[in-house]
Subunit: 286 residues, 4 copies
Amino acid sequence: MKPQIQRVGLISRTDWKEALDLSLKLIECLGRGGLQVLLEPELAKSIGREGLAKPVEKMNVDLVITVGGDGTILRTCLSLPKPEPPILSINLGVRGFLAEVEPDDAFKALDEYLSGRLAVERRPRLASFIGEERLPDALNEVFVTAGAPAKLLHVKVRKNGVEVDECLADGIIIASQVGSTGYSLSAGGPVLDPELEAFVLTPVCALVPFRPIVFPSKSVLTIELIRPSRALVVIDGHYQREIDLGGPPLIVTKSEREARFVQFKRDFYERLRSRFLFRGRKLNEA
Amino acid sequence: MKPQIQRVGLISRTDWKEALDLSLKLIECLGRGGLQVLLEPELAKSIGREGLAKPVEKMNVDLVITVGGDGTILRTCLSLPKPEPPILSINLGVRGFLAEVEPDDAFKALDEYLSGRLAVERRPRLASFIGEERLPDALNEVFVTAGAPAKLLHVKVRKNGVEVDECLADGIIIASQVGSTGYSLSAGGPVLDPELEAFVLTPVCALVPFRPIVFPSKSVLTIELIRPSRALVVIDGHYQREIDLGGPPLIVTKSEREARFVQFKRDFYERLRSRFLFRGRKLNEA
Amino acid sequence: MKPQIQRVGLISRTDWKEALDLSLKLIECLGRGGLQVLLEPELAKSIGREGLAKPVEKMNVDLVITVGGDGTILRTCLSLPKPEPPILSINLGVRGFLAEVEPDDAFKALDEYLSGRLAVERRPRLASFIGEERLPDALNEVFVTAGAPAKLLHVKVRKNGVEVDECLADGIIIASQVGSTGYSLSAGGPVLDPELEAFVLTPVCALVPFRPIVFPSKSVLTIELIRPSRALVVIDGHYQREIDLGGPPLIVTKSEREARFVQFKRDFYERLRSRFLFRGRKLNEA
Amino acid sequence: MKPQIQRVGLISRTDWKEALDLSLKLIECLGRGGLQVLLEPELAKSIGREGLAKPVEKMNVDLVITVGGDGTILRTCLSLPKPEPPILSINLGVRGFLAEVEPDDAFKALDEYLSGRLAVERRPRLASFIGEERLPDALNEVFVTAGAPAKLLHVKVRKNGVEVDECLADGIIIASQVGSTGYSLSAGGPVLDPELEAFVLTPVCALVPFRPIVFPSKSVLTIELIRPSRALVVIDGHYQREIDLGGPPLIVTKSEREARFVQFKRDFYERLRSRFLFRGRKLNEA
């Protein structure tokens, strides 16, 4: 089915010339196709198109294109307007585990999507709550840390109200299926198959042995702070929020809002294999 | 609901006096209750009750009682008659992660079960196939190894026919939810929550980085041998079967037959926490 | 040989009543013995003895007593006056891996030391340099981090000028023999035997596989920042110093100044075994 | 200094045509240079030169050339005659961490060595004893295992007679500096710098947490069997010897006999970096 696309939002890294060049070409290409283009303000400024600037959270668009690595996708997801448009992600980073389309395929992928020949893939996210307040959904992970280098975090973890265990560590990660190949993996967590409806709790540098635990995605996890008196919740590496000892605990569960990505090519395990080949590429591109 | 129990099978470690003593008391107690008792032949011989001997696989009983540690439960599960009776497991080992009932509670638990006051818990198992042949179901794990110390195994893993990755390691474990706290955990695998319908693939001493992967339990995994020319499949640490290069691959998926255990007391995470306290006990009881 | 002790410095946690009570008793005991006592200013204030206050770095004393856990010892070591007095450490924390003396033995240990019946043990430290500047010596570890949660650090490591490898991780630890049982252990590093003259480089949550490496203590390690533009050097969890991209690299090697501890009882492996028994104690005492 | 070379021993994999071809060319080249060549019997048979056959342990030669991977070097080292000749190793395996010379450089390296332009590098080995009996020295590692898949080993480890800890695991590795990049690394052990005089004790799949420990190479380790009643000592993956419960324990320390290798090119960390790039090559060459 051909998607009804009239307005497209464009978000890009602005610190790489390659990304800005590709963004300019995309703007031109979309314009030729009669589509209206909106730009994230920083990008608009970087390429002298301030007239097209619009904050991401106010972009009333039918499609969002990201140009950059996984970091660009993650921060875009944190501020998408509701209802959320699908994302077509173009990979300009080495760590492009989330990003679908290599730069050389950008125009082909755009064309195929506009013609209705590409599927949109749904990816689960994690919802987090502190008392009445709902934090932004996480595509990759919710990370709780004492917030200072080498400072120990001590929390009690409950699942559906029942104690799982206490954890003494640098921090604790709750990662979605998508996020299981990100920070959680570096901390020693397992990979979750894309068809598994689950999330994983992974400690970072546990002082006392505490193993990664995989929960069904419908589980409601409660993270209760024991020490220190203040800790930091970090979502997808970008959003930060403090929690306080004695205040309401952090609650994490599956979000009812999934992210939507235009699917171009590679299957999950093909990506995973190339993720481990990563070291072969030049490290300073990372 | 009160279970209809007329015949009870008893399986016990025979190398611990404590286990034999408890077995004798259980036989007496069951007899007083008018129940017929059958004994595993080795146990029957050890306590001079050869008249009650019956191989486990031929025990036509309504309940099986095991006296010992997890090893006793695992080997019992490998040879239960069909349809399988539920198991009431009495823990005489330090590693009693599976075993439900401490020795002091044995008679109380038996009494409560016979009165219909204890639930029977179902635990998923793994089915394994080599070509047309079906191997015994695994309660804990299916382990593939080159079969000689320090010899490298090289396999290709597929999920539902699609390549996951190749693995070069001492061996590879496919562990059920129950088994996720056993050998797989020692090899670096995650814990799977009891409500998660999944199994986990965990390499042992991978030469090339290969991370544990958690699959939905309906997945069909294929393990294809690449090297050496012959490898060993070990189920629950007891059953062994060779596979050959060029022969049919090993196929592992969820079994349609679940094991049934009389549930006495502790919840999963309480057990898990005490599992990590294990070191506190005397190691030579292990 | 009986040590010549006239002045004693006392440093204590001030947030535990138990520590303050023991400090008061120690002051009284030392006074009865005709010794002059100096107190860290915060302690002096907490117990109303401001007249005895003296900053640690200006304490011209023959012995320092610490009351608290390993954290108290580490921050004391960072600010000892030169030449450094030996430390008698009384353990009021659960994690007392460094601390020698249990509270009940405090007066016995003090008495034995003053009578010349206890040895003083030397423990190697790490020296760090940024250009011409020398940072405080580390008893446990030098930790380099991007300084923000979930932000990636990218450094190049050299040994005696020769490239070892690049490292992409949350951070990188260089731990002394003493520190090998601390933060480095939580990050996956090995234990170094007390007789081994070595230190260990351990990454924290490496994105790209990078294994802990053990170097002879005479090695000169250079940590050159590649990304981000600014990173943080944290010594023994207390001292912090920024380093900048393009500025002089961090250099770490064995310090010529060893720390000196009054040795009371337990040998290293006895401590190590009880370190792993730690989980058995109540976690909230940690 | 030009080495005095008259006789050369040649050992090669015989299951790869490429290795046999290279061996034939080496024989021809050495013959033209007026050197006498001796062949390992299996190689001699494979290439129809039975007249040159001589068991490795009886080769009275001035140089040994190995053609193959690390496995070929390891089994050669286990059976070298005394006094041991230096080894020139040509790498025909993917895992050539020990092997120095790539096939294309074989004749250049041989020529340079014979002309006295290549240094001979010494590499420490481990000596093992069971009671009065001395086992062959290990270049890589001494491995103790229960000897059956998934069977638990329980040992007590002492250093210079003092208890280190008990270990419950699949097995336990004592690896030399050279071996620290081999099996020990796969089991989670650290890398030891080539200038570090040390060896490392690494458990394989420890049931109870037991971390790798690095000891000075002069340490004398005692491994005392607790369970099962019989275990297997495996040296460098090739030599096997049983030990029995109640019999003399296994003793491991630095050997007074170092192995000698002709050094051609790459430094240790260059090799280590390419070791981690390994995954990029075709796995089935491994």
